[in-house]
């Protein structure tokens, strides 16, 4: 991991994670739940957080790492302030969502899976948000943008840039 994304966790975050671990540890199969909560607390799952979970649940770090890297929802890298998620499900794909993704990448100068230098945006692709009636769609944070055209991407991104 490079220096830019060195881990800075607060005592408050640690206390929240410890509470989650305490209340979950007796439930069989709780690891995924703990990882989901931890990602909610820290925004991502750096090795430091995984170590805390492994120690808290009394399991090996390799097991935690194995699960954290298996599922696409878990991220080991920090995400942007605004998380862009372009749907590449079939219904969106046949309506040209690959061109939407390409345009977002071009506008931000980063690739899918990466985060901009200023930490404002990160791009991911996802498989079907279920708004197929609006295809092609992308999500920025919780907001869904539908019936997109490559030309409309810049204007949408500008809204978030200005709000910065």
């Amino acid at each position: 991991m490079d220096n830019k994304s060195a881990f800075h966790g607060s005592a408050e975050q640690k206390a929240r994670l410890t509470a989650v671990i305490e209340e979950s540890r007796s439930t069989p199969g709780c690891l995924m739940h703990v990882l989901q909560e931890a990602q909610g607390i820290y925004g991502y799952l750096p090795i430091e957080v995984q170590t805390m979970i492994a120690e808290g649940l009394g399991i090996s770090l390799s097991e935690v790492y194995g699960v954290a890297t298996f599922y696409s929802q878990f991220s080991l890298k920090p995400k942007g302030k605004h998380r862009i998620s372009v749907c590449l499900g079939t219904a969106c794909y046949v309506k040209g969502s690959d061109k939407i993704l390409a345009e977002v990448e071009k506008q931000l100068g980063i690739k899918c899976g990466e985060c901009t230098e200023d930490g404002l945006f990160s791009i991911d692709s996802c498989r079907c948000v279920g708004a197929c009636g609006l295809a092609p769609v992308m999500m920025i944070d919780e907001e869904v943008y539908g019936r997109l055209k490559p030309e409309s991407v810049k204007e949408i991104l500008d809204k978030y840039r200005e709000a910065k």
Binding site: Q73, V94, V129
Partner: protein, 631 residues
């Protein structure tokens, strides 16, 4: 604890209110008078419509009703109505007026002109399919989209408020559980399921009753009932719609299965990407516990059953039953060899049944109306209905439920409203990354489990993506292989390496580097994968390639031998040109070109510098004279 009498009282209280939403015209008006509400306004609160801002519609509606002092109108936030392309949708009963693509301004107009006393339907805001040429209003159930549908699994979706258990009870939920606990033995339940012929709606089509009978026969005091709500097929959203529109029907069915096989504990494994569905399930479970319909001693029968939710974390392979159970146990969601089958040794090593959401949604009607009724619907070996998520190049994108045996033509041309923009139907993709394509020449095939297998596709969970002449079949196969290569868990070699190698071969063909023997290699590799992969993901991953090769071999050959992509999708295989005779020199293309690859003087034919061109297609989309061609 709730008693049977209390349950009946809730049903009686809610009966008319819900019936108004199922019947319209005179009968609806008479009923409405009895309910205390002059009108009911139903707004879709499913993911499709909330994405097009139906929450703003509800907010405005409530505001307008307050301003106009209309306190005799009930607003109901429901699940999906099905016609997602026209969202947000709002239906006013007892008239059954079907308003489409509503905005807050439209809502204001409807409130002022229609919802006020003596008001009239605002025709120009209705879904235009419900307005006939002479201006009269057609009930939406009579429109082509709804007419051929038969709603069994979706019976309450878009009818009830899913966050209110009393509405669910009023609409018939928990009636089957009550009947089972009062009148039926576990064997009676299983025999009824067997006789109904219900097959798993998740894709494989295994008879549900047999699964249950195996689990009942397995010895042990601890058994589990699981619900597969990890709807991974991109483009399929029927399970989500059931959970969002009628979550109680799933809880009820799981409790019935628990009674039948001797289990007291259920798990619902649901995608974390479905926040609305998860939220509604949580509310539903909490309410069911409060009403004593989950928990200890349900309805005084002595039977205990409770349900926990487990969230998936984005892994397609977790739709496979053994992988799903491994994931619930908190591990990497990798499948394991079968046998032992889950009915013998499943979750936490105990006998387990796993059914898909849509399968569960069929249980209540089978118990209430009988297996004999259910088996008359559909075809002899595929009884009942199937829900399809219709998407892609089709006018009426949405959720449809039709009897098994309905032909693809009926779905595409009548229910779906045909292909937009005057394009030609090319194929329907069913079964997602595990399925295949049904080409235009098979459009009259009746759709059921066996007929789809016979033509090289599969039912799958019910995603149905319509493709038109602009879709390249090699590219779409590559799209699916990218998906399966990415989602392969890596445990077994045929799938891990096979998907990668197949993808490489397809990429090579779409880049114009294909050789004739590649098709032989694809065929050989695909068959090895089908025979030797550990789970259904790898066994079915070659299906999209094999089925397109079967029906669209010429397209593959055009890519390989002639180095052209007939659909004009594969960028390496075409260039853009301006036809000098047609070009008027309007300069629009040159101004739009993002890389300045087009040059020319005003009013004189332009030219495209193919070396600079990035093939974005903006020029062809904007040319008013049809002067640009792709070849």
């Amino acid at each position: 604890m709730m008693t049977n009498a209390q349950l009946d009282a809730i049903r009686e209280k809610k009966k008319d209110l819900i019936r108004v939403r199922r019947v319209i015209k005179e009968e609806g008006e008479k009923l409405a008078a009895k309910t205390g509400y002059r009108k009911q306004v139903l707004v879709c609160g499913g993911t499709g419509c909330t994405s097009s801002h139906s929450m703003q519609v509800i907010a405005q509606l409530e505001k307008s009703l307050k301003e106009l002092n209309l306190d005799d109108i009930l607003v109901v936030k429901t699940g999906c109505f099905g016609l997602c392309a026209l969202g947000p949708i709002m239906i006013v009963y007892p008239e059954g007026a079907f308003y489409a693509q509503m905005t807050p301004e439209h809502v204001k107009t409807v409130a002022e002109k229609h919802l006020v006393k003596g008001g009239e339907i605002v025709k120009e805001l209705l879904y235009q399919g419900t307005v006939s040429e002479d201006g009269s209003i057609i009930p939406f159930a009579e429109t082509p989209f709804y007419k051929k549908q038969m709603r069994i699994a979706l019976r309450n979706c878009g009818v009830i408020a899913p966050e209110d258990i009393e509405e669910a009870i009023g609409a018939g939920d928990y009636q089957a559980l009550e009947k089972v606990l009062k009148e039926m033995t576990p064997d009676d339940v299983i025999n009824e399921m067997l006789a109904s012929g219900l097959r798993g709606r998740g894709g494989a089509g295994f008879p549900t009753g047999r699964k249950w009978s195996f689990a009942k026969a397995s010895p042990g005091n601890v058994k589990y009932v699981c619900c597969n709500a990890d709807e991974g097929d991109p483009g399929a959203f029927m399970d989500r719609s059931v959970l969002e529109g009628d979550p109680h029907c799933v809880l009820e069915a799981m409790a019935i299965a628990g009674y039948a096989i001797g289990s007291n504990h259920g798990f619902i494994y649901v995608r974390a990407e479905y926040p609305v569905a998860v939220q509604r399930l949580k509310i539903a479970i909490k309410q069911a516990r409060e009403y004593g319909l989950l928990g200890k001693n349900i309805l005084g029968s002595g039977f205990d059953f409770d349900i926990e939710i487990r969230l998936g974390a984005g892994a397609f392979v977790c739709g496979e039953e053994t992988a799903l159970m491994t994931s619930i146990e908190g591990h990497r969601g990798e499948p394991r060899p079968r046998p032992p089958f889950p009915a013998v040794k499943g979750l936490f090593g105990k006998p387990t049944i796993l059914n898909n959401v849509e399968t569960w949604a069929n249980v209540n009607p089978i118990i209430m109306n009988g297996a004999a009724w259910f088996s008359t619907i559909g075809t002899p070996n595929s009884s009942g209905t199937k829900v399809f998520a219709l998407g892609g190049k089709i006018t009426n994108v949405g959720l449809v439920e039709v009897p098994m045996g309905t032909t693809l033509r009926e779905i595409v041309e009548e229910i779906g409203g045909g292909i937009p923009n005057g394009k030609k139907f090319k194929a329907a993709q069913t079964g997602g990354p595990s399925g295949g394509c049904i080409p235009a020449e098979c459009i009259d095939t009746p759709i059921d489990y066996d007929s789809l297998l016979a033509i090289g596709s599969m039912m799958g969970s019910g995603g149905m993506i319509i493709l038109d002449e602009d879709t390249c079949m090699v590219d779409i196969s590559k799209f699916y292989l990218e998906f399966t290569a990415d989602e392969s868990c890596g445990k077994c070699t045929p799938c891990r390496i096979g998907t990668k190698r197949l993808l490489q071969l397809l990429t090579k063909i779409t880049e114009g580097k294909g050789e004739p023997e590649d098709l032989v290699k694809i065929d050989e590799l695909a068959n090895h994968m089908k025979q030797s992969s550990l789970c259904a993901l790898g066994q079915s991953a070659p299906n999209p390639v094999l089925s397109t090769l079967r029906y669209f071999r010429k397209e593959y050959e055009a890519h390989i031998n002639d180095k052209i992509c007939p659909a004009g999708v594969c960028k390496a295989l075409f260039t853009y040109h301006i036809i000098p005779d047609k070009c008027k020199g309007c300069t629009l293309c040159a101004r739009n070109c993002p890389v300045k690859a087009i040059s020319g003087e005003v009013k004189k034919p332009h030219v495209i510098d193919t070396a600079k061109c990035v093939k974005c297609g903006l020029c062809i989309a904007n040319c008013k004279f049809g002067a640009i061609e792709r070849k």
